[in-house]
Symmetry: C2
Subunit: 589 residues, 2 copies
């Protein structure tokens, strides 16, 4: 193996072009492939900018040619040579107009045969990809994703800095998050028996910055939740965390949607029109069955409870008499795409969300075709079709149940149907603010109200007096930004008055002692001049994932964890040293 020994790279492989013809260049990178054709060795040399073709000709350098004959895949080499115009240009290659005739070759490192291919369509298991992540990250798509991630972080930091936001770091070794998800704990050696928690968000600290007068804060910061994982969740994730003083909801929304506009423009050259539309929580649930509505397509939910009340179809009439509801979606114009078998599989699909069945009506050339038609009198059927604008070619799908289940199952069903119809375009970006959230939701397990967002969210002024009497009716000064069915972020105007904050904690079922234990220093801080303030936090991984057109956040994270929160490359988590556990005053069970 040879060394650089002072040799300097002059160009990136991917950047050598027609303007460099005649120049001597020094390139360094990895051998993508290399083959001897008619007495010349042709080597595709790869670096982060792309690939350049190198030609080794024994008439130029016998030594280089002989070394080149032995090159293997992923060898690391340095090449010196002259840029020539190619005889046969390759229009599919950024550097397809040129090739470099090498006068010198240094083999900087060899490579064994890699256990995974360095190409995007390698089709190996994700576990193997993660085990050899350092090779997986050589793939163009992964490099593109992480470059995009860097770019988006820069756009965000520039925008917020220009707008006077200060990035201030908050502690990682801190207190457990009350009313949050499950914390990761860190045993303290110096304080035996005590634990730090890793932050689920810098929520309390950023509010304290407002108390301190820091006015406009932000941070792109790692946060931690010890929850079971899904495709778009990781034990550690990155947030764009913001907070502002002396603002109301309009101020926060306005500055943040401008940031979003800039991200889309600068990162992927997509224009977002402002203002971003808004929808109330209630309307989102009624129309889309979800507070994260995907607005790229229709199939909105329609309530037919009033029509089917007392009708002949027992499932419908029973539901409406039990305070449940009957709602449907009209898969307009796609009747032909759904055979009975397809519809059965949709029924299986809604059952996973708790629905007991899926009633349906098709309208085709023969008229109404439906297993439930015979139970419905003509007038009821007509009223239904009128309401859903039922025309030839339509497929109407019904669920009857508690609102919660109807919303959940039809909400997912409309997305599933759109997916099957190929209506989910990756390059269509439908942003929407969801507003007017309820402040609380009832937790059946804990038998108490819990905060829908978090306990620092301000109630709407006009709902303040219902805090004790009708908590379920109190709306919050909260707002979520949703893109194509994904929540990009959420925020709120915060409570800044210690009395209201106490009332909020009490509404959550805490007594004075618990409040002091969990939130004492915050209540105390609020006594010394707290400005009105509010903010928002965005899921950075998720934003980058959507901008990259990926479906899994692991595709935009360099070293993610698997579903069981482990890393196949490092084997973390791993056994701990007995001695160290003793120092930490803990033992494993």
């Amino acid at each position: 193996m040879e060394t650089l020994n002072g040799l300097k790279r002059t160009h990136y492989c991917g950047n050598v072009g027609i303007e460099d013809i005649g120049k001597e260049v020094v390139l360094m990178g990895w051998v993508q492939k290399s083959r001897n054709l008619g007495g010349l060795v042709f080597t595709d040399l790869r670096d982060i900018e792309g690939i350049c073709q190198i030609v080794f000709d024994k008439d130029i350098s016998k030594e280089a040619f002989e070394k080149a004959e032995k090159l293997g895949s992923e060898y690391v080499i340095a090449v010196k040579g002259i840029v020539h115009e190619r005889q046969s240009k390759n229009p599919n290659m950024k550097t397809g107009d040129i090739e470099v005739f090498a006068s010198e070759l240094r083999i900087l490192n060899k490579s064994e045969t890699p256990p995974i291919y360095i190409k995007d369509d390698d089709d190996v298991s994700e576990n193997l990809r993660l085990k050899y992540r350092y090779l997986d990250l050589r793939k163009p798509s992964m490099q593109k994703n992480l470059i995009l991630r860097h770019k988006v972080a820069n756009i965000v930091r520039n925008y917020l800095s220009e707008n006077r936001f200060l990035e201030i770091e908050t502690p990682f070794l801190t207190k457990p998050t009350p009313e949050g998800a499950r914390d990761y704990l860190v045993p303290s050696r110096v304080n035996p028996g005590k634990f730090y928690a890793l932050p689920q968000s810098p929520q309390i600290f950023k509010q304290l910055f407002m108390v301190s007068g820091f006015d406009r804060y932000f941070q792109i910061v790692k946060c931690f939740r010890d929850e079971d994982l899904r495709a778009d969740r990781q034990p550690e994730f990155t947030q764009i965390d913001c907070e502002m003083s002396f603002v109301d909801m309009e101020d926060v929304i306005s500055i943040m949607e401008k940031m979003m506009q800039r991200i889309f423009k600068e990162a992927i050259n997509v224009d977002i029109n402002l203002p971003i539309p808004r929808i109330s929580y209630k309307e989102a649930m009624e129309k889309y069955g979800s507070d994260k509505p995907d607005l790229r397509f229709g199939f909105e939910l329609i309530n037919v409870s009033d029509i089917v009340k007392g009708c002949g179809f027992k499932v419908f009439s029973d539901a409406t008499s039990n305070g449940k509801s009957v709602r449907c979606i009209n898969v307009k114009g796609y009747e032909k795409e759904f055979t009975r078998k397809n519809i059965s599989s949709l029924e299986e699909f809604v059952k996973t969300y708790g629905a007991k069945g899926l009633a349906w009506i098709k309208i085709n050339q023969e008229g109404v075709v439906s297993p439930i038609a015979k139970f419905l009198d003509e007038d009821t059927l007509k009223q239904i079709l009128d309401r859903v604008d039922g025309k030839e070619g339509d497929l109407i799908l019904f669920v009857a149940d508690k609102d919660e289940i109807v919303f959940d199952s039809l909400g997912h069903l409309r997305v599933e149907v759109a997916k099957r119809l190929n209506l989910l375009k990756k390059d269509e970006y439908k942003l929407v603010w969801v507003v007017d959230f309820p402040l609380f939701e009832y937790d059946e397990e804990e038998k108490r109200y819990v905060a829908k967002h978090h306990p620092f969210t301000s109630p709407k002024d006009e709902d303040l007096e219902k805090l004790e009497t009708n908590p379920q009716d109190v709306r919050a000064k909260a707002y979520d930004l949703v893109l194509n069915g994904f929540e990009l972020g959420g925020g709120s105007i915060r409570i800044y008055n210690s009395d209201v904050q106490m009332r909020m904690f009490k509404a959550l079922g805490f007594n004075e002692e618990q409040i002091n234990e969990k939130f004492g220093f915050l209540i105390e801080a609020f006594k010394y001049g707290t400005p009105p303030h509010g903010g928002i936090a965005f899921g950075f991984d998720r934003i980058v994932m959507l901008l990259a057109g990926e479906e899994n956040i692991r595709q935009v994270i360099a070293f993610p964890k698997t579903q069981n929160a482990s890393c196949p490359m490092t084997n973390a988590p791993s056994d701990a040293d007995e001695k160290q556990l003793q120092e930490l005053n803990i033992k494993t069970l």
Copy 2:
């Protein structure tokens, strides 16, 4: 309490100026002070930009005036009014040319009397300051420090991004750091009995990015070490972490010193001349007794062992015959500043570094004055004075001991003397690269060699063959950047050959099994085409501390920990829930 109710701030308090005279402005902030003088209420209103004087006149608004009479310190208010030129201008105030006559006042929040004063010279204990950190952070000096911190981070990110470095995030929940300091551990719930470690640095990950072809990586990132704390150490600290491929030491030094130059220029308008001077580890030790030399003043160490060998002063002659050394510093020209009592206290000082005593020679009007002069013959004395350039007015201070102790005690002594003489100017910035470090140091406790930097540091090519035979003589391709006696950062060219890496691990005393257990995936990664690479990591907190002219990193961290790694504000670390410990499969002892 009143609400904003749509009222918008038009200006920051500190930014209203002569150009705004006649305008109506809306300001929001905290009441610094407020007093009734001759029928007018004068209120100093403070926000992050500064202070503005508000005048409440009952002839303008009786309602505002009456509310203003009741304002207390740190009340949060909004004021609307017209900017007037002041009768008696205050040149000590940024906004001293103007005052705002208020037509409207809203009290947004009240404040109880704060437990600490909101001014820089409050003189309360640091513990109280940290307990009420949200108030402490209202002080102008703390706001200035955190604004500077934000600015420095932006300068670094801009510079590195312009130079094609990508910021890529590395995991926080990862593997223990072999050969590092003590790790913080995080028990895994999903993998019972297993632990993550918080990273001490992203060292291995950044090297894997180089294996992946990411060429130029950086990250401003939190790192963690569970060590006992000192003034400039915290359990969590922030690093500027960089790594580059296809480079040698000159490339890394060159790009990084340009970054440093830019930081000094843009953050505090100080010019740093490039190239930054270099000194070898050996010379730094010989001249300054330290590998973190403070070059703002002289008093360099001088070896007189050869002169005093066999002399009449037993302490000196014994030392030299036992392979120890006798060295001194000449406190040139400051003889008069040091009485015998002062010198005694210097002797006490060096004893804390293990020296047994401090011999001294003064040269004043009467000639040589010294308790040891009588033991030295004239020629020896003359030779000493010649070597140290001893002239009237000088004070020469000697330590005789093992090199290690002599360097440590005289190294600290020269700084202590300079401090007492007020020679440590905060606005003088002497940067120096320390190079040619030894690769290993011998660990007396573990009875083996350990890496002076870390086990991935490359030996110098010409010393490679001594790895097994003379480890103590192997020099490293390592470099530290030192400013005024503080290490700002350190880095190295890394080993990139798996065979050399194996030899290095073996030199550290590991057997194959241990190597595989601790570093297996790295050795494996190195087999698939690893480029030559190197990098550096800077202590971000420390850089900001020095730029801010502070002496304690807690002054540039929003929510630092105390010496016992706790937070007086949140009371972290705290007791954990029994139920959660069970879920984590651990118990406390």
